[in-house]
């Protein structure tokens, strides 16, 4: 990704932040600054900073490695399936995928996935009393 593109995206984010900041409505106004000034200043400041960085600093770029891309996709897969497939199944699959990314054998990956998912489900569900999702997919039709 090119730094110029990243700086541009940050500047757009600053611009949107500024625009939304201007639109902030205060039902009760009691202090001289109000809730709007701070966000407006920050949004403007980020835009100015991004412009200054793109003018004064050399712009670099880097190639996102294939392993990084695949890990990012695995994280997104985990996010999407966390509730849908449930913690146990989503974790087993995601851990297997991550483990394979860092050169595990398929058996090591599968075992790690199973052990990690059972271990964390046990810790959180039984010991800490925190319910983890069981999977909406298993309720379809039921």
């Amino acid at each position: 990704m090119s730094e110029r593109l990243f700086t541009l995206l940050l500047a757009i984010f600053g611009g949107v932040y500024l625009w939304l900041g201007i639109k902030i409505e205060a039902p009760i106004a009691y202090d001289p600054l109000g809730p709007r000034i701070f966000p407006v200043v920050l949004g403007s400041f980020l835009v100015i900073l991004c412009l200054s960085i793109s003018i004064f600093y050399p712009m670099t770029q880097f190639q996102i490695g294939s392993r990084v891309k695949r890990l990012a996709l695995t994280i997104l897969f985990y996010l999407v399936t966390f509730k849908f497939l449930g913690f146990m199944l989503a974790t087993t699959i995601s851990v297997y995928m991550v483990a394979r990314l860092v050169s595990s054998s398929w058996m090591e990956g599968l075992l790690t996935g199973l052990i990690v998912s059972i271990f964390f489900y046990g810790i959180f569900h039984f010991l800490l009393g925190v319910p983890l999702p069981l999977g909406t997919v298993f309720r379809i039709g039921g």
């Binding site: 990704m1 990243f6 940050l10 409505e25 205060a26 106004a29 004064f56 890990l71 974790t91 995601s94």
Partner: protein, 492 residues
């Protein structure tokens, strides 16, 4: 007499079986988090939050546990720096310069034991000073009103900007992003919703754990994917670390100098342990004239000084945190945020209302420091095994723990989505050399900065000169100017 009373109360609290168990757990877990590159003290504290919530721990136990994780991690991060040339976290950046050459020369055990001594020494000096100053913590904090807090937080921001080694505008951008995150949520007093987009998960602001885990754990896991594993890793420690006390006593003055540097940097809001680590190394390099081995090839002064400074700074940074509620670094900002999450609000009120907690914490630090010294001297042969945990176990664990920690606290997939977005943003920021310390500090201190500024202006009727009145604001204002001038002069 009151001090003795509080001290004894603190001793009684610190030595209850529950607190002793959590002290040992915190220090040892912290050491483990410190040893493994990628899991820092900040991650460790964030990952322990669900545990603390669920067990409903008492405030003093939470303080002892989180502090243990913090200084335990700072103690442990040298191990990977010495054995693998990869610091457990940036706090041991300078330690590897002389530690790794010693390890390559078969003196890894000696390097580990000597740095354990120096970390212990630095830590004890900071604990002693905290002990002497503890009775006046509440007085220090009480003299701060809203304008003083604004000036102090501004001073912290200036220090974190000028002490960071990366490009100034990028530091500033990172700080700005942190402040922008802090704005999200319902504005107290005016009932205005800011950047919540109708998402209930954002009404109370972006949850602390989401930001910390996104910024540290997720971005770190992506960064770890890029590492190629170059460099020689030591699979075992071949030498014994016994009989090194006389050698350590030969370098006691280096250790003392570095500890004093560490304590002074720890007292400053905005500076961090890595600043102390590097500053002590550079100072020793300037003042010590020893024959071979030179600095960078296994010099003993270069080995022990950064670690003494690192530990001293970690423990000394509890002064601004406890007395003023102002964290001194990204990690203490995480510690501060984590304490707030469990309704422990560090600052003058805590020191005034519960001085026994402060004493309990200081005594626990003393005990924790002794425990860490014993473990770090007696278990040197175990460390290479700790570092040999395969990536296919470690990497998935980081991702799963990140998800589970956020879900356990928020029970929401939206929170997970926000964490992933922040994690990806943090990854790109790191790739383009934006430091993450200012971002976290801005996020944690943004709210108190804005609130105190608005409160001060409300009291003064909108008169901005309120920030120039009063001796403390003047001193802090001058400190800001001096810090900026020194930075400019130093650059030239």
């Amino acid at each position: 007499m009151e001090i003795v009373h509080n001290l004894l109360q603190g001793l009684a609290i610190a030595t209850t079986p529950v607190n002793l168990i959590f002290l040992a757990a915190g220090a040892l877990l912290g050491m483990f988090f410190g040893v493994i590159p990628g899991i820092s003290a900040a991650n460790g504290i964030a990952l322990m939050l669900p545990v603390v919530y669920t067990f409903g721990l008492a405030p003093e136990t939470v303080l002892i546990l989180f502090a243990g994780i913090y200084y335990g991690a700072k103690y442990g991060c040298r191990i990977s720096a010495i054995l693998n040339n990869v610091p457990g976290d940036v706090s041991s950046l300078a330690t590897r310069l002389d530690g790794y050459p010693l390890a390559l020369a078969g003196k890894g055990g000696r390097a580990l034991v000597l740095t354990a001594f120096s970390s212990f020494f630095g830590g004890m000096l900071a604990i002693l000073l905290l002990g002497f100053g503890a009775s006046s913590f509440a007085d220090i904090g009480s003299s701060f009103g809203p304008p003083e807090y604004v000036a102090l937080i501004a001073f912290a921001f200036v220090l974190v900007l000028i002490l960071s080694s990366t490009l100034f505008l990028k530091n500033l951008t990172s700080l700005c992003l942190g402040l922008m995150f802090s704005v999200v949520g319902l504005d107290w007093g005016t009932d205005a919703f800011r950047y919540t987009a109708g998402i209930p998960e954002l009404y109370d602001g972006i949850d602390f754990i989401i930001v910390v885990i996104g910024v540290f754990a997720l971005s770190e896991s992506l960064m770890m994917m890029e590492e190629t594993g170059q460099g020689q890793k030591l699979s075992s420690v071949v030498d014994s670390g016994g009989g090194l006390l006389p050698l350590f006593l030969q370098v006691k003055w280096s250790c003392l100098r570095a500890s004093v540097i560490g304590v002074l940097i720890g007292f400053l809001p905005g500076a961090g342990t890595y600043v102390a680590n590097l500053a002590a190394y550079r100072f020793e390099k300037k003042v010590v004239n020893t024959p071979e081995p030179s600095f960078g090839s296994g010099n003993i002064h270069g080995l022990i000084a950064p670690e003494a400074a690192n530990s001293a700074c970690a423990l000394a940074s509890f002064l601004p945190l406890l007395a003023l509620g102002i964290p001194g670094s990204a990690t203490t900002a995480v510690l501060h945020g984590a304490l707030l999450q469990v309704n422990v609000d560090p600052g003058a009120a805590l020191c005034r209302n519960h001085p026994e907690y402060i004493w309990a914490l200081i005594i626990s630090m003393l005990l924790g420091n002794i425990l860490l010294l014993i473990v770090n001297v007696k278990m040197i042969r175990f460390f290479p095994r700790l570092l040999a945990i395969p990536a296919w176990v470690l990497m998935p664990m980081i991702v799963v723990v990140a998800f589970v920690s956020v879900y356990a606290v928020s029970q929401s997939v939206v929170s997970l989505l926000i964490m992933v977005v922040i994690g990806l943003l943090a990854y790109y920021l790191r790739k383009f050399h934006y430091p993450l310390g200012p971002l976290i500090l801005g996020y944690v201190l943004g709210k108190p900065f804005e609130d105190n500024m608005r409160l001060a202006l409300s009291i003064s009727g909108g008169d901005f000169s309120v920030f120039l009145h009063g001796p403390l604001t003047m001193v802090l204002g001058c400190s800001i100017v001096i810090a900026i001038v020194m930075k400019v002069v130093y650059r030239k």
